[in-house]
Symmetry: C2
Subunit: 343 residues, 2 copies
């Protein structure tokens, strides 16, 4: 299933004007922080073009904040690849580092990590900037969204380490994917990127909760389609197409078509709910300023659905054909060429 599967998305979202400036600063930062440790790792990292993902998903961030958001993306994506199938006890180190990443937003900003490695040091620095100026309520929401994602990531690694990656049925996988895709905290960060907050009573409304879940499902399934070749090369069984194929939904091609239909159904339901937002604002008796912040919160979701999509079509991360040390490492079950969990 190729990376160039296209979807018809009804959003037209901008790209940050700070992309080039912020990318240059960001690429220096990841060397300084030890987030790349080899030329091969750096070449692979550059080919993903995460700066473009940040510039598309957070188009209104200031130049300085755009660098922070790129820095955050780098540590999250690089951490995601640290499992090594040849070392099952690596799962314990991943859990240890993940738990440090979880507690960072629960400490006063600026605290030093208790578990030290390039990933945790980078996150402590990023969180210091990412939390600046945001309310306790937002920090609480972000911390829980981020923590739920990282806990789910550890469960994914634990399943892989025990050789159980391919054992979830379709319903279990769909719920699991919603947790592993990491969209809730990514949408939360949209508020930070534009310096606003969705009113708490709107964020707590079942409509908004369901919209966030559906955005996560849409993006997670879309990602499973676009990253299918990469994940097959890496032996990763956590992919919607693989689950559908295993569950008897026909050939690989048919499983891929079914995955496509499921994705568009999630998107369709999301769009239907989006149309009900004005009624929710009436129900909550929101004033004009609060309605504006709800609208910006919805835009943050749209920026993620569309921005992530546009980036995935061109990112080298999901390239079907790959050669060299990174492909060799992936074929051997190693998630990455650089070990970022060592001191």
């Amino acid at each position: 299933m190729p990376q160039d599967v296209t979807f018809d998305l009804p959003f037209d979202t901008p790209v940050s004007e700070h992309l080039e400036y912020a990318r240059a600063r960001h690429l220096r930062w990841i060397w300084d922080m030890g987030l790349v440790r080899s030329t091969a790792g750096f070449e692979e990292y550059k080919s993903w073009d995460l700066p473009l993902a940040a510039a598309r998903t957070y188009p209104y961030a200031s130049a300085d904040d755009m660098v922070v958001l790129m820095n955050w993306f780098s540590l999250a994506f690089l951490f995601d690849d640290q499992f090594d199938a040849g070392q099952p006890d690596r799962a314990d180190r991943i859990a240890e580092v993940a738990r440090e990443l979880i507690v960072t937003p629960l400490r006063p900003a600026g605290s030093r990590p208790r578990v030290v490695c390039p990933i945790t040091l980078a996150w402590a620095e990023v969180w210091n900037s990412l939390s600046a100026g945001m309310s306790l309520t937002w920090q609480t929401r972000f911390a829980a969204s981020w923590g739920r994602f990282l806990v789910a990531h550890c469960e994914e690694v634990d399943l892989a380490a025990r050789g159980l990656a391919g054992t979830l049925d379709l319903e279990e996988y769909a719920l699991f994917r919603r947790r592993t895709v990491g969209i809730h905290h990514s949408i939360d960060a949209g508020e930070r990127s534009r310096g606003f907050e969705v009113p708490p009573q709107a964020m707590a409304h079942p409509l908004m909760e369901r919209m966030r879940d559906l955005a996560a499902d849409t993006i997670g399934f879309m990602n499973d389609i676009h990253s299918f070749e990469r994940e097959r090369r890496r032996g990763d069984g956590h992919n919607l197409i693989a689950v559908l194929h295993r569950e008897g939904h026909g050939s690989w091609q048919e499983a891929a078509q079914q995955a496509y239909r499921m994705t568009t159904e999630c998107l369709q339901e999301y769009l239907e709910l989006e149309a009900r937002v004005p009624r929710m604002c009436d129900e909550l008796r929101l004033d004009e300023d609060e309605r504006t912040r709800v609208r910006m919160g919805v835009e943050a979701i749209q920026h993620w659905i569309n921005g992530n999509y546009e980036w995935a079509l061109v990112s080298g991360r999901y390239a079907a054909a790959k050669e060299g040390p990174v492909a060799t490492a992936e074929l051997a079950g190693r998630g990455s060429v650089d070990d970022l969990l060592a001191v």
Copy 2:
């Protein structure tokens, strides 16, 4: 400084009618769960009478929920005592267990712990009941409050393990105490105990945030006064009276008097803010039902300030004079007679 220092609290709070029934079920549960492992540990535990604390702080819980709340108190208080000054590397095990306790509310309820010991197994079971019927917003708030407390507890243990318990100045200590006292999540649980939720926009209001902080300060400082003899016996330097004495606020008696004044000042400021709650409800344009839930949220704070106070006056946990194996263990720097962090 004796346990019988009294305060003039302007709240008259009820005691649960389910105290005796729930206490009996709870005491069987802690044996079944391995939360006491010796007769000496059980005698000590019974002398604290945590069931009375739960019955005073959550007076309106149902009989079944009262058992759950007592069960929760037991694991939290017993975990609090697991540091052993003679084994500084014990701090790493405490951090490992604390992080498991932090991630439990971030997983789907009913999940099995990744770090297994009596404390984590007990918490997974309790959380399953404690989270039942509560919104995602409440669960998010509870998880963050609980996580902030446990991270602060680990910092306290780390300072003790490195011999640095007595190095915080007064201002640092006051902020630290607000985090280690564990009141924010305890107040959150008040909503669960009566089956309601404070409207999110009220909970996010600076007035409510400040009231919660002041309740935490009041209860933390009060606890430092009532537990002073116990903590001196245990060699615990994290106590307001000890900090004031070290910072040159006169004799022990004078330091205790100063601690008393600081406590009543926090309480006074809390009461002044409480009087502004109706104006906050106007400002937020709350309807009658929402105002009722705000009032119940304020009552949850009052139940904690007064209920904890009434319990502390009579609990064997803070007894000045103590003999037998527990006192011997405490004098030797061991936090408890039973190790609850081993499998």
